[in-house]
């Protein structure tokens, strides 16, 4: 669980590779003193917000609400964290929870009250069983609640109310976990500010983008110049998001699936399940195209969220940062989906590493990696899809999850071995030092993506069957 997603600062001198002799598609405007000065003026702020609004209009369905919140947070930097809490509550209680399949305002309020109680208990009683292991207690409690709810008689009020509550609790689970991690800190934020990090208005998934309150404290702009730099970097990132989206939708997908006729991966997988035949090279073409498309989609999505976070005055690291340049499996895992990796590191890797196998350094690292990349990863994805557990029951859902569990085991072994190998500064040149390792790393993740299957419709053997197709081992 290593390596860097580091957009905020130029890389170390030896790691920097010139790209077309220093040419940049989007110039480093945050390094131009005139631009930074201009961005600190009132007219500069409105100009930035105006340009950002155009990008949001292209990428975000609720761009009007988001730009108003960003304008408020820009104009009231001294109340940034309070505005964040206010905006996040408006977003949650005005936009998300009233408009789900059933309005979930009451369960959402109950979850926040429970989160406040847990935060208070973890800060007030740090030496209690719960205070010493707040995140493990939270996750165990949540998992047991889901298990119990799956045994409730179907269709009754208690069943519906329980699943409504668990749906909201699941959506906030990892945000609350970050709060509980912060509860032990001497410089922790009060709960009122922690709430601002619970699915913040700049967007995200069940993975907390820009982590929790502790991280926000560290990356918050503390003066007008820092705010200007953060916003300019946010603007650049949004521009990247728009450019990548245009490339994907207007060039890559039409060429790959239209002109070249490469089948969509999910359709080809379905064909494999139906025992249909296709040439092995078509399988590879489809898999590689799907891998690139997934990378692009994650970049577009993550860039948009982090761009808004930066626009709000928090200079967060990018979510996806040049994954194809990775020279090791561990580095790719870090560069591909940074905030998910960080979640696993904070909630599983560190606690395991600091407590177990302390006398065996290699086992310690391997065990912690397994706890994060295998157990934590599987836990996150299994409990993310609560609707499926509600529908099928706990154990059937778990059985349906076998392909993804296999994926997490192989992933953890890969990352573990990658980390245990000695890390050195590359000295073997561009081809042997960069291109060849990158090729193997991309190959590993591309093949492994066959098993990155969370739909739960088909068993593990269907993934192996598709893999066999790729090597022309089936008819």
């Amino acid at each position: 669980m290593t390596a860097a997603a580091d957009p905020g600062r130029p890389g170390p001198a030896s790691a920097r590779a010139p790209f077309l002799w220093g040419f940049r598609l989007i110039p480093r405007i945050e390094t131009y003193p005139e631009v930074v000065s201009f961005a600190q003026t009132d007219i500069g702020k409105f100009t930035l917000l105006g340009i950002f609004a155009i990008g949001l209009w292209y990428t975000h369905p609720l761009w009007q609400v988001l730009i108003v919140l960003l304008a408020v947070v820009t104009l009231l930097p001294q109340y940034r964290r309070m505005v964040l809490t206010f905006g996040t509550l408006v977003w949650g209680f005005g936009i998300i929870w009233p408009w789900t399949v059933r309005p979930l305002l009451l369960p959402a309020a109950m979850v926040l009250i429970l989160a406040a109680l847990l935060f208070w208990a973890a800060s007030r009683f740090p030496h209690s069983g719960f205070g010493r292991r707040p995140v493990a207690s939270l996750l165990t409690g949540f998992a047991l609640s889901v298990l119990l709810a799956s045994y409730l008689p179907r269709g009754g009020y208690l069943w519906a109310a329980s699943w409504d509550f668990l749906t909201v609790a699941g959506a906030y689970l990892w945000f609350i976990a970050y709060s509980l991690l912060d509860a032990g800190s001497k410089s922790r934020d009060p709960f009122a500010l922690q709430v601002g990090t619970y699915r913040p208005f700049w967007g995200g998934t069940n993975t907390p983008f820009a982590k929790g309150a502790a991280y926000l404290r560290r990356i918050e702009a503390h003066n007008p110049e820092q705010l200007a730099v953060a916003q300019l970097k946010g603007l650049k990132l949004l521009a990247w998001s728009v450019l990548l989206d245009l490339f994907l939708r207007k060039a890559f997908l039409p060429v790959v699936h239209g002109r070249l006729g490469i089948p969509v991966y999910s359709q080809l997988f379905e064909l494999s399940v139906q025992r249909g035949s296709f040439p092995w090279y078509v399988g590879w073409a489809s898999l590689i195209a799907n891998f690139i498309e997934d990378l692009a989609r994650l970049s577009i999505f993550g860039h948009r969220i982090i761009a808004s976070c930066r626009m709000a005055g928090f200079l967060a690291l990018r979510n996806t940062c040049r994954p194809l340049a990775s020279r090791s499996i561990a580095e790719f895992w870090n560069r591909y989906y940074y905030y998910f990796k960080e979640l696993l590191v904070d909630c599983f890797f560190y606690p395991t590493f600091m407590r177990y196998f302390k006398g065996h350094r290699r086992w310690r690292l391997f065990a912690a990696t397994f706890a994060a990349a295998c157990f934590g990863n599987a836990f996150f994805h299994f409990f993310r899809d609560l609707g499926y557990i509600e529908e099928s029951g706990f154990w059937k859902a778990l059985a349906g999850f076998q392909a993804y569990i296999f994926y997490t085991v192989v992933l953890a072994v890969g990352i573990g071995i990658s980390q245990l190998r000695e890390r050195r500064v590359e000295t073997t040149g561009w081809i042997r030092g960069r291109l060849v390792p990158a090729f193997w790393v991309i190959g590993f993740f591309c093949i492994l993506s066959v098993f990155d299957y969370t739909d739960k419709r088909y068993p593990l053997q269907e993934c192996f069957r598709f893999l066999a197709h790729l090597f022309n081992l089936t008819s």
């Binding site: 600062r9 170390p12 001198a13 904070d346 590493f353 890390r423 050195r424």
Partner: protein, 83 residues
């Protein structure tokens, strides 16, 4: 050698192993800035355990505790005071 100097030397070596030879101040963020990563945090934690007897199993761990040279020094001082 003074504690802080020992820690500084260890962090400098850690950065140098990654090809990062740029200077860093006592207050400069090392982890949350992305300059060092989680596996480097682990290296720092092991170093602090072995060199100064800091017990993270007892006090818990988050990256903020070792994000700057100042924070690491404060942690070591605090650990030395705690019986």
């Amino acid at each position: 050698m003074e504690r802080k100097a020992v820690i500084r030397e260890f962090v400098r070596e850690l950065l140098a192993r990654k090809g990062d030879t740029e200077p860093f101040s006592d207050e400069a963020s090392l982890l949350l800035s992305g300059r060092l990563q989680s596996v480097d945090a682990v290296e720092i934690a092991v170093f602090l355990e072995e060199e100064f007897g800091v017990d993270f199993a007892e006090r818990g761990f988050d990256q903020e505790m070792i994000d700057t040279l100042d924070a690491i020094s404060a942690l070591v001082e605090d650990s030395a005071k705690t019986p």
